[in-house]
């Protein structure tokens, strides 16, 4: 019963790896259904965010604010091994109804603590986490990133926590409550600048990483390259600049690093007319770590690597087949299961509420009362 990307992604992972996941939505549908991006080719345009976070689940509707709704929620909880909720739900009541369930609060900041009333968005999460401060150039504003990555990361951490709780049931004989915050998750993913700071007071400035990394503009795109000491000669060869290997400004890691901007300017002038793929191939052939900056559309269709790996899959939806990203991990004994597209709002109401012992007439009257 999660209304966050993190919570819904956590349970999608559970569905991927075999759980029967039921999304409990308000009667008007999950709020994620009205968050973009949308597929403009259909009318009404479906949310691709909702699709991505919810394929393979079933759906029931429930307004659990009133007494009959709350009673139904406890009934549903009794049948559950795992219950994922957002902030503001009485988790003790759920645990009392379902002592063996792992009950996970997955939210931006949790529902206690200094930020309990704050509103979270991706930029808010990464700004608080310390990560944003290190993206971009020192003389410009810091950059937040893209998409909703901190929420997905928290979804993965919630999945880890939930499975740790499921695993521990054998030892302790019952379920327990677990909690994952998006902001704490994002904070845990920062480069160890906080440790550097407590080690010696140093604060790493944005944009000056002291790393042998460059992003080069080629004729048709951008190429990132990382030049380790053992790859220096090969890199110069790949750039077509063998004379650099004997240039005293670039001899040895430390000297090269202190003249890094000069080096990048020389290389940039040399490679600007090369196709990006050709530069990457030249570098990779010499074991230099390099990659083209792919656009999202490069990942689909003609991509030889992902096609060669059978990456893309698809599911049937009401609008026809729709592509699904390949599995996060490939497991030899328990591969990802792709059962169906995302559910329609409340499509399993009859099946699930009747399994709780409700008669068709009772389900009907709950629907008329707006409870489901």
């Amino acid at each position: 019963m999660s209304e966050t990307i993190a919570g819904q992604f956590c349970t999608r992972m559970l569905a991927d790896y075999g759980a029967d996941v039921v999304l409990i939505e308000p009667p008007s549908g999950s709020g994620i259904r009205s968050q973009g991006p949308f597929d403009p080719r259909q009318d009404p345009a479906p949310s691709l965010l909702f699709f991505h976070c919810n394929h393979g689940k079933r759906s029931v509707t429930l307004d659990h604010a009133g007494p009959s709704g709350h009673k139904l929620l406890l009934e549903l909880s009794r049948a559950a091994d795992v219950i994922v909720v957002g902030a503001g739900i009485d988790r003790d009541a759920l645990q009392a109804a379902s002592p063996n369930a792992v009950i996970a609060l997955v939210s931006s900041f949790g529902d206690d603590g200094v930020y309990r009333d704050w509103r979270g968005t991706e930029m808010v999460h990464v700004a608080l986490s310390g990560m944003m401060n290190h993206n971009g150039l020192g003389e410009r504003e810091p950059l937040y990133g893209c998409g909703n990555r901190s929420s997905y990361a928290a979804g993965v951490c919630a999945y880890i926590s939930v499975l740790a709780g499921v695993f521990a049931r054998k030892k302790i004989g019952r379920g327990q409550k677990v909690q994952v915050d998006v902001v704490e998750t994002a904070s845990s993913m920062g480069y160890p600048y906080a440790t550097q700071h407590v080690y010696n007071g140093w604060l790493e400035p944005r944009g000056e990483r002291g790393q042998p990394f460059a992003v080069l503009k080629c004729a048709d795109g951008w190429v990132a390259v990382w030049i380790r000491e053992e790859h220096w000669i090969g890199a110069c060869d790949a750039f077509g600049l063998p004379e650099l290997t004997s240039d005293p400004r670039f001899t040895g890691t430390a000297t090269r690093q202190s003249n890094w901007d000069t080096l990048v300017a020389i290389v940039q002038a040399q490679v600007k007319t090369l196709p990006a793929d050709e530069l990457v191939a030249r570098l990779q052939a010499r074991k230099v770590i390099a990659a083209k900056a792919w656009q999202p559309t490069d990942l689909y269709g003609a991509c030889p690597h992902l096609t060669g790996r059978g990456y893309w899959e698809s599911v049937e939806t009401a609008d026809g087949p729709r592509p699904v990203l390949g599995p996060q991990f490939r497991m030899s004994a328990t591969p990802r299961q792709l059962r169906a597209g995302p559910p329609e709002v409340g499509e399993s109401n009859a099946a699930i509420y009747s399994s709780l012992g409700l008669a068709a007439a009772q389900i009907d009257s709950l629907r008329r009362a707006g409870v489901i």
């Binding site: 998409g147 407590v198 999202p296």
Partner: protein, 419 residues
């Protein structure tokens, strides 16, 4: 907290990893109570120990690399909390046999070698399952174990390029930008830990182990799944506009009081817009038709930015964000590493734990976001010095005699001194 109560107490993990992603996976399992053993050949120690490259003194306590910099690196010491270190060179006499003996008593193996390396070392999944039927082996190659790019070397920043993420980040017209500085590494670490938890739960129920391939780029693509699906649907790729986005405005960072101090403001609807106008004491903006709706705010975003910056420039970033949030406007200070150390929110979560490291001293270390109420994880023990636990593992786990250990020592196989 009792260690044996942790969820993964009794699970043994062997890590054949380096740098960040692989160690972060093992660190997650170690936090949750597993016994995690790092195999570290002294001839080729973990690259995050920085055994040779000590030019960046900012990595060390008091900016002093000391006599053994490989035991004082902030990078290694952050990602290897709770683990044991076994110095073992597989290429020297007895090294390979010793590792195989250990693996036969191991529940989970984590490897971030390039594809095919485990098989070449004769410790691939098919070989190991002969020794231990229910073993779980996870490999985490950047691009997977198959396909034309399988053998391409990669690092966090180049992986971020391949996932499509970097092209979505940047200043208008500028180069694709990677996230600070290797976001794909912790991403891969968490994805790997999630895969292993899946296998452990299955093993608990079925008694069966398995092989896991974690293609780090493919796993990370899930984190921008809706952006990729949208590009696939429309055939168009979003163009980065700094912090501005087409679906919300204002959505940007604004200069605050002080040097390089910023406050992020993300107004996602008209209600939050009106709340912002009133919070920054510019009620006339709320009724200005140029800004009343999203299309207007997007069209006039430069002028709008200046108006809001007038308010933020004279304010502390923490106070400005708190004031905006209390008015119902999503906002945040852009925190520095120092802000994290002093964060009340993180303190309430118990995020930092002070650990005493034998060669680096006592310092607080950043934590992990897992909170289990009955079987909690914890950061209990500072990262190990290179080879700190070799003798314990050889004698107490592998039950080697002192004579056998002496033979390995004489051959240099278990040397704790980087070559």
């Amino acid at each position: 907290m009792q260690e044996e109560l942790a969820p993964l107490a009794g699970i043994r993990v062997v890590e054949l990893t380096t740098a960040w992603a692989g160690p972060m996976a093992g660190r997650t399992l170690a936090f949750l109570g597993a016994e995690v053993i790092r195999i570290e050949p002294a001839s080729r120690p973990d690259s995050w120990r920085h055994p040779k490259i000590t030019f960046n003194h900012n990595r060390y306590p008091d900016r002093d690399p000391g006599l053994r910099p490989h035991n004082r690196s902030s990078l290694f010491n952050t990602q290897n909390i709770n683990k044991l270190s076994m110095a073992l060179d597989l290429k020297l006499p007895g090294g390979h046999e010793t590792l195989v003996r250990l693996l036969a008593m191991t529940d989970v193996v984590i490897s971030n070698f390039t594809p095919g390396t485990l098989d070449r070392l004769k410790i691939g999944y098919q070989q190991l399952r002969q020794l231990k039927k229910d073993i779980i082996v996870l490999e985490m190659p950047a691009f997977g174990n198959s396909g034309p790019m399988a053998n391409n070397p990669a690092l966090g920043p180049t992986m971020e390029m391949v996932t499509g993420m970097a092209s979505l980040i940047g200043y208008p017209g500028g180069p694709p930008t990677v996230t600070g500085p290797a976001y794909l590494d912790p991403t891969g670490g968490y994805n790997a830990a999630a895969a292993i938890m899946t296998a452990l739960v299955y093993r608990q129920a079925s008694g069966e182990g398995q092989h896991i391939e974690l293609p780090q780029c493919e796993a990370a693509m899930q984190y921008i799944g809706e952006v990729i699906l949208s590009a696939v649907a429309t055939g168009e790729n979003p163009q980065p506009q700094g912090n501005r986005v087409p679906w919300a405005a204002p959505h940007d960072t604004f200069p605050a009081l002080g040097d390089d101090a910023w406050v992020a403001i993300a107004v996602t609807n008209d209600e939050e817009w009106r709340a912002l106008c009133s919070a920054i004491d510019m009620p006339e903006l709320a009724t200005d038709p140029d800004y009343a709706t999203l299309p207007g705010r997007l069209r006039n975003s430069d002028a709008l930015h200046e108006r809001i910056a007038l308010w933020t420039r004279s304010r502390d970033k923490h106070e400005a964000a708190a004031l905006l949030q209390s008015a119902g406007v999503p906002a945040a200070p852009v925190n520095t590493a120092k802000d994290l150390v002093h964060s009340r929110y993180l303190a309430e979560r118990g995020f930092f734990t002070t650990l005493d490291h034998p060669e680096a001293g006592a310092h607080p270390y950043q934590g992990l976001p897992f909170h289990l109420t009955v079987t909690p994880g914890a950061q209990r023990r500072a990262a190990p010095c290179l080879g700190a636990d070799t003798h314990f593992i050889l004698s107490d786990i592998l039950k080697l005699s002192e004579d056998e250990i002496q033979v390995l020592d004489a051959a240099g196989t278990i040397s704790p001194i980087p070559a």
